[in-house]
Symmetry: C2
Subunit: 252 residues, 2 copies
């Protein structure tokens, strides 16, 4: 078992850099923090490249960790505190290879995010897509980075359960259409199609930015644009709530 004693160790310095999007993209890797996520990665047979664990954590999780085909390093509590962004670090981390290949088979229900900014919203929407049995989630350019600590935390491991792909939304719409998936934009417009009147599935739903909604150019590319009625006095729904209502309506 390798041991690392200093925060200045090169491997630790490289790993710490994964808190920045730039390095995650450069290395095609990301860091997960805490036993729940590491366990989800193990269960899902994700491509775990390195595990860092404190002696205390190793004792606790040894049985599961010894089954993993990855380099394991023992680290000090001080290094754990340095690597972690959690209020109380659990002393276990894994470096995982990004996996954002488009699946060969696209047919199914999809969630498409256009410029969703809040990491909590992005993570919750992916977790809901997973729960609703969706085929996958597509993140358009400008949406909060999938592998930031906050998104990872609110996804609760769903990134290991369904494909999540980043790219240009118009290209993806064309690919879905070739598989006869219906494309639905969303808008706050009473003249749009009520979501309860959707007849054709599988469906892809495009959800947009918290302030601006879905870009007009994208709304022009869809088969239909749908709205969720507001029965009370609220001006709008939170975007993650709107996505949940649409996805569970599609899932029933």
């Amino acid at each position: 078992m390798n041991e690392i004693q200093s925060k200045k160790n090169t491997l630790i310095k490289e790993t710490k850099k994964l808190s920045q999007k730039k390095y995650r993209q450069q290395n095609q890797q990301y860091l997960i923090d805490g036993w729940h996520l590491v366990q989800e990665a193990i269960k899902a047979k994700a491509d775990i490249q390195t595990i860092f664990v404190t002696p205390h954590g190793y004792e606790e999780y040894r049985e599961r960790l010894d089954t993993v085909n990855a380099a394991i390093y023992l680290i000090t509590d001080e290094i754990a505190a340095y690597l972690s962004e959690l209020p109380t670090p659990q002393g276990i981390f894994a470096v995982v290879a990004k996996n954002d290949q488009l699946p060969k088979q696209l047919k199914g229900n999809w969630l498409i995010l256009d410029n969703v900014q809040d990491p909590g919203n992005v993570g919750t929407m992916i977790r809901t897509a997973d729960a609703a049995g969706f085929a996958g989630v597509f993140l358009g350019t400008g949406t909060a980075d999938l592998y930031s600590t906050k998104v990872l935390r609110s996804m609760q491991g769903s990134n290991f359960h369904l494909p999540i792909v980043e790219g240009a939304i118009p290209d993806f719409i064309a690919a879905l259409r070739a598989e006869e998936v219906m494309i639905y934009g969303t808008e706050l417009n009473k003249d749009a199609l009520a979501y309860t009147d959707i007849k054709h599935y599988p469906a892809a739903f495009i959800l947009g930015n918290e302030g601006q909604g879905v870009q007009k150019e994208l709304l022009a590319l869809t088969d239909h644009n749908v709205y969720i009625p507001i029965y009370g006095e609220a001006e709008s729904l939170n975007v993650a709530i709107a996505a949940g209502i649409l996805m569970y309506h599609a899932a029933r």
Copy 2:
């Protein structure tokens, strides 16, 4: 027009204390921050007691502010920064009297929160209850404080649109039952009633703590307990998403 030049002014010191729950309860008041919320309070004819505004803000909002029956104080930018918890203070604040009277007429759909901890979840759930045209929201003891900055921010003014009452859930269940409202607990249990099979409305839905769910003692007091199926591999839904799915299913 009264002017206040110093953070040490008694009224400012008293107002700043409203960031603490203890003082909000003592004074039966809370502080709202930013034009959007102040505007919602004005529109809803809420009981606004004091308005604090910078000269710049007063110039901008004068037309609307002059219609309000409340003491208006001009404050400096420094005081605005001191009172605000926003990253970029808008220079307008209002002290509003709490209004948590149970309405005389209870019949209708209700959302009941049992120990929901995250302020963002609480605020979003109230906003969704408003959008879904619910009769009101009941907060059981232990749920995040309604008038904290984070809850106020995520409610986006919905606290001015529907009654929100705090108290003991068992008493409230009894009161709803007297009005023939059906009581539904929620649980992660496949043997519970699927939410799509709910036949009887109006309904009150009890949503629980992010980790523990609804307390067992409360689940024993309901007419039925419902679950939302998980079609994929996620372990659970975020509580605000679950509430949104149930409330919009009830609203259709």
